[in-house]
């Protein structure tokens, strides 16, 4: 299908790290069913090293929502939290060899799902964080972030 790159189709058809995680250290959910996509991301963090040792996701959404979720989990798995927080939607788009213009919002959602999971981890462990982790409020049109 010409709409999507081969990478997107691969991650959509064979999503990595899909599924629930019962003993997650942090869970982030962003998006809204009314708008057509919700991503939920689970992370497991090594408390010593602050490394994300495992990631899972559940996604309700279009092909690129699933593919960006999958790619985002790949990009943060095994990385320290500090690096995961630097993950940009642009990096996700690039790793997928591009997305159609009208699908860029999916990569934004993936970025925010990661941040939401980290925020949840911070919250649960009483780790302080700054304003930049204020998550997306889940309304389609009110996302104030500047994204690629």
């Amino acid at each position: 299908m010409a709409l999507y790159s081969d990478k997107v189709m691969d991650h959509f058809q064979n999503p990595r790290n899909v599924g629930r995680m019962e003993d997650a250290d942090g869970i982030g959910e962003v998006g809204n069913a009314k708008c057509g996509d919700i991503m939920r991301m689970y992370i497991k963090v090594d408390p010593e090293t602050q490394i994300i040792t495992d990631v899972k996701f559940n996604t309700f959404g279009c092909g690129s929502a699933i593919a960006t979720s999958s790619m985002a989990t790949e990009l943060i798995k095994g990385k320290p939290i500090s690096e995961a927080l630097k993950l940009s939607n642009k990096a996700v788009v690039e790793a997928l060899d591009g997305l159609p213009a009208q699908k860029i919002h999916c990569s934004v959602l993936a970025e925010e799902a990661v941040r939401a999971a980290v925020k949840d981890y911070f919250d649960r462990h009483g780790i302080p964080y700054g304003d930049e982790l204020k998550a997306c409020d889940g309304h389609c049109d009110t996302c104030g972030h500047e994204h690629a």
């Binding site: 959509f12 959910e29 069913a33 057509g36 991503m39 939920r40 309700f60 959404g61 699908k103 049109d141």
Partner: protein, 395 residues
């Protein structure tokens, strides 16, 4: 298995249609406006195509205008009726919330030009009533336009009854019959239809050919100005191969209409029965008053585009009213008008068939689709919440 289950979007050109087109490319290629023999041979083909459409609609040949498609026919019908209304000081138009965008966007343009538009609500069964139309008619109503059959959910509207109401009120009645033509019987006289649009590529004719029927005496406004083609009402050198293919396809579709319907209806009903057995799945639109080839469902907890893509990977070409397929955030205006909540409307699937589809394709779909739905629900956080009771089921 490769299954084309998107015949409401467009169809393959039939052998009959292609056979009618072929001589027009390199043999009878003249311009029908030319006086010479090659031109006049083309003019004869044009006349006989016009006659075929007139015959099957129970109209007169001069009431048939060829256009570039259903959209142009819709635009011209609405603009013509509006101009006529404006000359009489009548600037109110009645339509429905689930019309095709060729109607809705033209109505929006007319609103900007000072017309007032009433869009009727869609009852839960997807069938508007003549009573709704009657109640909406005002002294300044110049046009009622209600589609013959809906392109997404396939529901058939009570056209003869609406025609009757309009005729009694002295209001022009147009119907967008793009999804109905060639599939359902049409009689512009018996049904009191004043104007009608159709498009050839929806009944195995070529793309790029439409017909506007306009009852004699209704003056048409040009959408395209220029030469004197189509009695001066539609400029542009006539697409003779396309028009001949369209007429041949229409003839074939009308002649085989009953047979096709008898073939498709049980297949449709089998598929509906099989797929609505999936939990939290609902059929969109009346199960009986629908096109013989239309199945349209919502599956709770999943999103349409991903469903389409996985179906495509399995060789099934289908369609969805999901927002993601359109690039907008709002899902299908048709499903919303039908009362489906946004989150449900996102999980829609349209499967549309023609007589080219085979019974074993239905069996294959009944095998494949439930698995894909389960797989996507497994992956879906929404389904998770629904199952855990954290989110109420809507269907």
């Amino acid at each position: 298995m490769n299954i084309y289950a998107d015949n409401a979007a467009t169809t393959a050109v039939s052998k009959t249609a292609l056979t009618a087109m072929m001589p027009c490319f390199q043999e009878v290629y003249g311009n029908p406006s030319s006086l010479h023999s090659p031109g006049q041979r083309a003019a004869e083909k044009l006349a006989s195509a016009r006659e075929i459409f007139a015959r099957h609609l129970n109209a007169q040949p001069r009431e048939i205008t060829f256009t570039s498609g259903g959209s142009e026919a819709d635009n011209q019908a609405l603009r013509s009726a509006a101009a006529l209304g404006a000359r009489k000081g009548k600037k109110h138009i009645i339509s429905t919330k689930f019309e095709h965008h060729a109607i809705l966007h033209t109505l929006q343009a007319l609103e900007k030009e000072g017309f007032e538009v009433t869009l009727l609500d869609i009852p839960p069964d997807g069938v508007v009533t003549a009573e709704q139309v009657k109640a909406a008619i005002r002294p300044d109503t110049c046009l009622v336009t209600v589609m013959f059959a809906n392109n997404e959910i396939g529901t058939i509207q009570p056209i003869p009854e609406i025609g009757q109401v309009c005729r009694e009120a002295g209001v022009l009645f147009h119907t967008d019959a793009v999804q109905a033509a060639g599939h359902l019987p049409i009689d512009v006289e018996a049904m009191h239809i004043d104007m009608l649009s159709l498009s050839a590529h929806k009944f195995h004719g070529p793309k790029g050919v439409g017909v506007l029927y306009a009852r004699r005496g209704i003056p048409l406004e040009n959408v395209i100005y220029g030469g004197a083609q189509e009695r001066g009402k539609r400029a542009g050198t006539e697409n003779i191969p396309g028009i001949c293919g369209a007429a041949a396809a229409f003839d074939e579709a009308c002649v085989s209409m009953e047979e096709n319907a008898a073939y498709l209806t049980p297949l449709r009903d089998k598929l509906i029965a099989g797929l609505t057995a999936i939990p939290h799945t609902v059929l969109n639109g009346d199960p009986v008053r629908r096109l013989p080839g239309n199945v349209n469902l919502c599956f709770e907890g999943i999103e349409g585009e991903s469903l389409l893509l996985l179906l495509d990977a399995k060789g099934i070409a289908a369609s969805s009213g999901s927002a993601c397929t359109s690039g907008s955030l709002d899902p299908s205006h048709v499903l919303l008008a039908l009362g489906r909540p946004h989150e449900v409307a996102h999980g829609s699937l349209r499967l549309t068939f023609s007589e080219y589809n085979k019974p074993e394709e239905i069996d294959y779909m009944l095998e494949v689709i439930p698995k894909i739905v389960s797989y996507l629900r497994e992956m879906s956080p929404v389904w998770d919440e629904l199952e855990k009771g954290q989110r109420p089921h809507l269907i």
